[in-house]
Amino acid sequence: MKNRAGFLISLIVVELVLQIFNPTGAQASCGSCRNHAIGYRTDQQYNGVHAYIELADPAIRDGVNGFSAEVIWIGDIPSAHNVIEIGWRKTGVPFQGANMYWGYVDSNGSWSGEHWLGSAGQGRDYKIEYNSGDGKWHVYVGSSDQGSVSLGISSGYIEAGAEVSDQDPNNHNAAGVAGHLNLSYRAPGNSSYFQWGGWAKAESPGYHINPINSSNAFQTSGYN
């Protein structure tokens, strides 16, 4: 009897400790759910994508390891495999301010990331491009090569915009109001970068991208 009581007291203490460290009572994160406000182009194959991404301060109030990110992607977007991304991400619990990172999903669907690159600052040029010399995708902040990976593809579709985790009515997260400016791409057979000149878009309920008087710049925003 005493043994049972002791065990119950132990469980209560454990629960109290966990409550102290998780004061919002946040639910387990919804690893597979996302909100997006993104622009994309799938009208041809691309082997380079660039955007100047502004800093924002999105609210990440719930979700055990929720995040809000502003990102560019390139790769096999339809399968969501062989996709590489770079941008910045702010995490909620535990709190971490906006930090630059890159990561990728390989051909098996396994995520490799986040490769943290330091504070996002006020705004940066981000770029991903395929290097036919070494057969790898390289990620850049400004003109500085931050890393590379071989994905087994040399071109893909491009996306840019906001990604927010923990898509759930009980959670309340947000995309920051952030500009993706100077959107540009490189396509196989041409070494130059060109302006996007427009995009298709995908928006979760409550999330938006709006052009900034240009076909090469938009602003993301939203909350759930």
Binding site: D43, P78, Q122, N182, A200, S204, P205, N213
Partner: protein, 252 residues
């Protein structure tokens, strides 16, 4: 005595474990990783199949707006007839070419206005999500016309699992250019314009698309009251800007 010791050990171990777990969760160095993910890609555009021509004229999809179960297909049509076009829809499996189990329906065809020689309108469609389906419309310039245009602008490549809104413009060098300017709350604002012309009531159509996908023409003043022109993008001057792309690719 033995029971007390076991209880004390259990108690101590569980408290220590919970503190360790909490500290791990709080540590930035061991931040739990969550995969980044592009937005769900459901609809692959088929720009080469978005325009059709015959001896009666031409028919071209300029912008599509897609939500679960509903679609809007904004079109530009050049024809000698002034009738509202007669539209039927069909869904075929992309690989087999066999009719899909569930067929789309045309809820209505709505005329929106005239730009130069073109009539602009929107087809309201209801559909069921089916991976692999190609949704096509056959358009006759008037009921009973033998000559019809057929367009198949998108194929569904993945299942719809979340209620996104997809807006797909077609980037060809057409005479009528559709622009999805803004989404504000549950309302969208689109413009259709004669290519190369500045925005004005004579050569631009201004539209409001409501939460239930009702399409309402607006005046330029109404439109610009809701969607003010934003300033040209200016990168934050505190940030580091190092990249200068070439202008638009002349080859598209």
């Amino acid at each position: 005595m033995k029971v007390r010791i076991v209880g004390l050990i259990t108690f101590t171990a569980l408290v220590a474990l919970s503190i360790i777990v909490a500290l791990i969760v709080l540590s930035n160095n061991t931040l739990p990783s969550q995969a980044g993910r592009p937005a769900p890609f459901i609809w692959k555009d088929q720009p080469e199949l978005a325009t059709a021509q015959n001896s009666e004229g031409s028919f071209s999809i300029r912008v599509m707006m897609i939500k679960p179960q509903k679609m809007l297909w904004f079109y530009a049509m050049k024809s000698a007839y002034n009738d509202i076009p007669d539209v039927t829809a069909i869904a075929l499996n992309k690989l087999s070419g066999i009719k899909s189990d569930k067929q789309p329906t045309v809820d209505k065809t709505q005329e929106l206005g005239k730009l130069g020689d073109f009539r602009v309108g929107v087809i309201h469609l209801s559909y069921t999500s089916q991976v692999g389906q190609v949704i096509s419309v056959q358009v006759a310039p008037f009921a009973g016309a033998k000559q019809k245009w057929e367009v198949s602008p998108v194929v569904q490549v993945n299942e719809i699992e979340q209620p996104y809104t997809w807006i797909i413009p077609f980037f060809d060098k057409a005479t009528i250019v559709g622009t999805a300017d803004s989404s504000i709350g549950d309302t969208n604002y689109f413009r259709f314009q004669l290519a190369g012309q500045s925005e004005s009531p004579g050569n631009t159509l201004f539209l409001n698309i409501g939460p239930q996908m009702a399409v309402l023409p607006l005046s330029q003043a109404q439109y610009r009251a809701a969607v003010p022109k934003m300033a040209s993008p200016q990168p934050n001057l505190k940030g580091e800007k190092t990249f200068t792309p070439a202008p638009m690719n002349p080859n598209g």
